[in-house]
């Protein structure tokens, strides 16, 4: 398995904050689906944004942050412009906020193509329509001319997926891709994402707080707590987790047919944020 | 139950004023607001100590020494009647301050009364009162003040009345918005259950809660008041000569401007400094609070 992304001891500190938001996180990614799980504030979203170098108000340090042939630490902003949206992209949480409210959704998708290719608007439009079809949008011509407030959340997120996969990136980060959606459309959106990622051999990082989603959808899981990776294991081994925090997270989940005792309260110990993982 | 509630009710006004202290501390952290506060402090000092600071009597003419340039004897020069400009400026600070104070004293209660009544009762009363407010708002304040002064007759007192008449609507708007958020609070319902009259509820429970934001809005308004008053004075519709009002001083100095620049320069600098000071404080206050709400007229 070829390594797409190699991160060693990544730390991110927002300026003015007392403690780093991400503290010496290391992982590798091949053509697989990696889940990053943690509570809100655990630094999981910050990892994604740090990889794309979107954090203007934070200091990023790492021993190594290699994306294929690119050293993300040393890359200039100019180089990053060629990487963002072209080779690495990110699906954001809520299409209600992540789509520009006053532009046609189709034009917004096409813009991703135009940002990286010398192409006419007509060509970009054709590409966009094709991509909209492949995220199972039935009437792409009509949807192209709609505004974000006119599409449902599920469709908005499919449009977002189309926008981010249009340029055939090698790595996609999905930051809580389904948390803003109705439960009923979550599976649909996830399966579309899953199909595209498999077909195109894309490396995928799914950032989520939803342990079940990650367990069913990903190959491997990182558990983050207070800016640190406390445990890393294959999704199928999740039940054999060693770390007390992971065990706590699992135990705090209700199960149909399970015992009717009150669910245990999640423990949080400060020393988990300190001990080296 | 009565005894239980009494201390609470009495503490409402004090609780409402507590944020002002925090705001003041916030202002002291920014150099621009500190500059503004310093200028205002100087202005107040000058007004209090005018007899000590002034080197001459503000109305004393010296026809042998007219239009004299700034010198050791007349720091800012003399005007066309040989009056000392520095001394007139110092005495004029009293006029400026009293305009600000009087306008604020008139505008605050009017705005509060209209706003709280409209917000408290809602419905028809609210619609009618806000319609009237909108009519006053549909004029630039200087033009409406001009018309009022023309109707009432040009002098300082009428200028103050005119400015007050044109600057209450934004205060009323704000007080209404605040009242609408407070009128369904539990302590208002509690007062109503105790049988308090509407007047009592408005005066004792609602007005104190509106006070901090209204006072801030009034501060923001002071720069406009100064500029409008100076503009009226300049057009001959405000303070009348020989009063040492800064705008009027510029108006009379205008005729001698080409040869005697000091006649218009120093009063203008004084107006600019004071209005800038209030604007700097206002800007700091705006940062300290919700920016959107304060941007509205």
């Amino acid at each position: 398995m070829s390594v797409i992304l190699d991160v060693q001891n990544l730390s991110v500190a927002y300026r003015g904050a007392l403690s780093p938001a991400v503290n010496r996180v290391s992982f590798q990614l091949g053509q697989e689906r990696l889940g990053i799980v943690g509570e809100s504030g655990s630094g999981k979203s910050t990892v994604g944004r740090a990889l794309l170098r979107l954090l203007d108000s934070a200091d990023i340090t790492a021993d190594r942050m290699q994306f294929q042939d690119v050293d993300l630490l040393a890359a200039s902003e100019r180089q990053m412009l060629g990487i963002r949206g072209k080779r690495m992209s990110m699906i954001l949480q809520d299409p209600k906020f992540s789509l520009n409210p006053i532009r046609k959704v189709g034009d917004q998708v096409a813009e991703a193509w135009l940002a990286h290719n010398r192409a006419s608007h007509k060509e970009a439009r054709a590409r966009t329509l094709e991509m909209l079809t492949s995220v199972s949008i039935r009437d792409p011509e009509r949807v192209y001319d709609m505004y974000p407030h006119q599409v449902s959340g599920g469709m908005g997120q499919r449009i977002m997926i189309a926008m981010m996969l249009l340029t055939d990136p090698q790595l996609v980060i999905a930051d809580e891709p389904t948390s803003a959606l109705d439960v009923t459309v979550r599976m649909q959106v996830l399966s579309i994402l899953d199909r595209l990622v498999r077909d195109r051999g894309i490396g995928l990082i799914v950032i989520s707080h939803d342990l079940n989603l990650v367990r069913n959808f990903c190959d491997r899981v990182l558990i983050m707590y207070a800016g640190r990776v406390v445990e890393s294991l294959a999704a199928c081994d999740l039940d054999r987790a060693q770390h007390p925090y992971t065990q706590g997270l699992l135990a705090a989940q209700p199960r149909i047919g399970g015992p009717r005792r009150p669910l245990p309260v999640l423990q949080r110990r400060p020393e988990w944020a300190e001990e080296p993982s | 139950m009565m005894t239980d509630d009494l201390p609470k009710a009495r503490s409402v006004p004090f609780a409402a004023l507590a944020p002002l202290g925090r705001i003041l501390r916030f202002l002291m952290r920014q150099p621009t607001s500190v500059f503004g506060l310093a200028v205002i402090a100087l202005l107040v000092l000058a007004a209090i100590a005018a007899p000590l600071l002034a080197t001459h009597a503000p109305y004393a003419q010296d026809l042998s020494n007219t239009l004299a340039p700034p010198s050791a004897q007349n720091w800012f020069g003399t005007d066309e009647l040989g009056r000392d400009i520095w001394s007139r400026l110092v005495w004029g600070s009293r006029i400026t301050l009293s305009i600000i104070a009087l306008v604020t004293i008139v505008v605050g209660p009017i705005g509060l009364a209209v706003g709280t009544v409209a917000g408290y009762y809602g419905g028809r009363i609210d619609t009618v009162m806000m319609r009237i407010t909108d009519i006053f708002l549909s004029f630039p304040s200087l033009i409406l003040s001009l018309a009022f002064v023309a109707a009432l007759g040009p002098n300082l007192r009428n200028a103050i009345i005119a400015i007050a008449l044109t600057s209450w609507p934004p205060v009323a708007r704000l007080a209404r918005a605040e009242t609408m958020t407070f009128r369904n609070e539990d302590y208002v319902s509690a007062a109503r259950l105790q049988g308090a009259s509407d007047l009592r509820i408005i005066c004792k429970s609602i007005v104190p809660m509106c006070l901090p934001s209204v006072m801030i809005r009034l501060t923001l308004n002071m720069a406009t008041v100064i500029l409008t008053a100076a503009g009226l004075g300049f057009l001959g519709l405000g303070a009348q000569p020989p009063l040492p009002e800064w705008g009027a001083m510029i108006a009379t100095g205008r005729r001698y401007m080409i040869d005697s620049w000091w006649l218009v320069t120093f009063p203008g600098v004084a107006i600019l400094c004071v209005s800038l000071a209030f604007n700097l404080i206002g800007d700091g206050l705006r940062d300290a609070l919700d920016p959107k709400q304060m941007n509205r007229r």
Binding site: L81 | L152, G236, L276
Partner: protein
């Protein structure tokens, strides 16, 4: 929004405007009646007999109760009769038509300068929030907001006209050009261009540039502040992150996304700033001897010309209401969310 609810919304807005206009008329009527000048005496002259005086007095309806007088005023206004100016002997409306182009010329150039200065500065201040460009721009625009414009006008005349001689002094053109160009539109720059009198064009621009710059600077203060606050609202939105993830540069996200999204808001505040210029125009026209609306209003205030004052005040109110309405309409037309 369904078509019917939009229609009722529109009807309600028209009703609101009608009531506001009526209130405006009450206000101008009150101002007119409060004015100390005696309009009858001004018409009949000082030497007129008591009989003639009383005749005109009843003719003008001053003997009727105030509500009736108001209805008469209302009728006159609705039929387009704003009365005659005592000072000029002309119908007030003609007088105003004659002076308005001078003010519009001044205000239009001023708003172009104000928006041209204020919008880029506001964007820059937002992008550089809390860093030194933001602070410099803040002080610069607060200065514009704080200066007594009549005084700045004088100082500018002292420096640029009297000392340096870069620009023309008071008035719209230099004296020896007066009457050279036939008045077609009463906008001197346009008239002179039509007549191909390039010296006159230059002279007119020379006189226009200083007062227009000062007015523009003072209105740029408001435009800068609003632009900055609109931009800050946009810059922190998630869709800006999306645009950057797509590979757009910071500059592109600012101008292609954030800025385009505030353009409707900007048009509305520029419209409101244009109305507010009338206020500055009253003062600046006095300083620059500019024969426009502001000077017409102030000279009538001095002489107590009741009809003229009432009409001027009414006109300013109507302009303000119209601009407010315009900004509402623009919002509805250009924001897809309200369509």
């Amino acid at each position: 929004m369904s078509p019917t609810s939009r229609m009722t919304g529109f009807a309600r807005q028209l009703g609101t405007i009608a009531i506001t206009l009526l209130g405006l008329l009450v206000l101008t009527f009150a101002i007119g009646r409060l004015m100390p000048a005696d309009p009858v005496r001004a018409i009949v002259g000082e030497e007129a007999t008591q009989d003639t005086y009383m005749q005109v007095y009843t003719q003008l309806g001053f003997d009727r109760p105030l509500p009736v007088q108001f209805l008469m005023y209302l009728r006159d206004v609705l039929t387009g009769d704003f009365g005659t100016s005592i000072r000029t002997g002309q119908p007030v409306i003609n007088d105003i038509m004659a002076v308005m182009p001078a003010t519009l010329e001044l205000a239009t150039l001023a708003i172009l300068i104000g928006a041209g200065l204020g919008i880029p500065l506001g964007v820059l201040a937002a992008v550089k929030k809390d860093r030194w460009p933001d602070h410099v721009i803040r002080i610069f625009s607060l200065m514009g907001h704080s200066m007594p414009i009549f005084w700045t006008g004088m100082i500018a005349l002292l420096i640029f006209y009297a000392a340096l001689g870069w620009v023309g002094g008071g008035g719209r053109i230099s004296d020896y050009y007066i009457g050279l160009v036939p008045p077609v539109t009463n906008f001197i720059v346009i008239d002179a261009m039509l007549a191909r009198e390039w010296d006159v064009v230059r002279s007119a621009l020379n006189h226009l540039i200083l007062p227009a710059s000062l007015l523009g600077y003072s209105s740029s203060a408001y435009i800068t502040r609003m632009t900055r606050s609109f931009m800050l609202d946009q810059i922190n939105q998630e869709y800006i992150t999306t645009a950057r993830v797509k590979g757009l540069s910071r500059r592109q996200t600012i101008w292609r996304h954030a800025f385009l999204n505030i353009r409707v808001q900007l048009v509305t505040i520029v419209a409101l700033a244009y109305g507010a210029l009338l206020e500055g125009a009253v003062l600046i026209e006095t300083v620059f001897s500019w024969p426009g609306f502001g000077q017409y209003l102030t000279s009538n205030l001095m002489t107590g010309d009741m009809n003229a004052v009432m009409t001027c005040v009414l006109l300013v109110g109507v302009i303000f209401i119209a601009l407010n309405l315009l900004s509402d309409v623009l919002y509805r037309v250009f924001d897809p969310r309200t369509r």
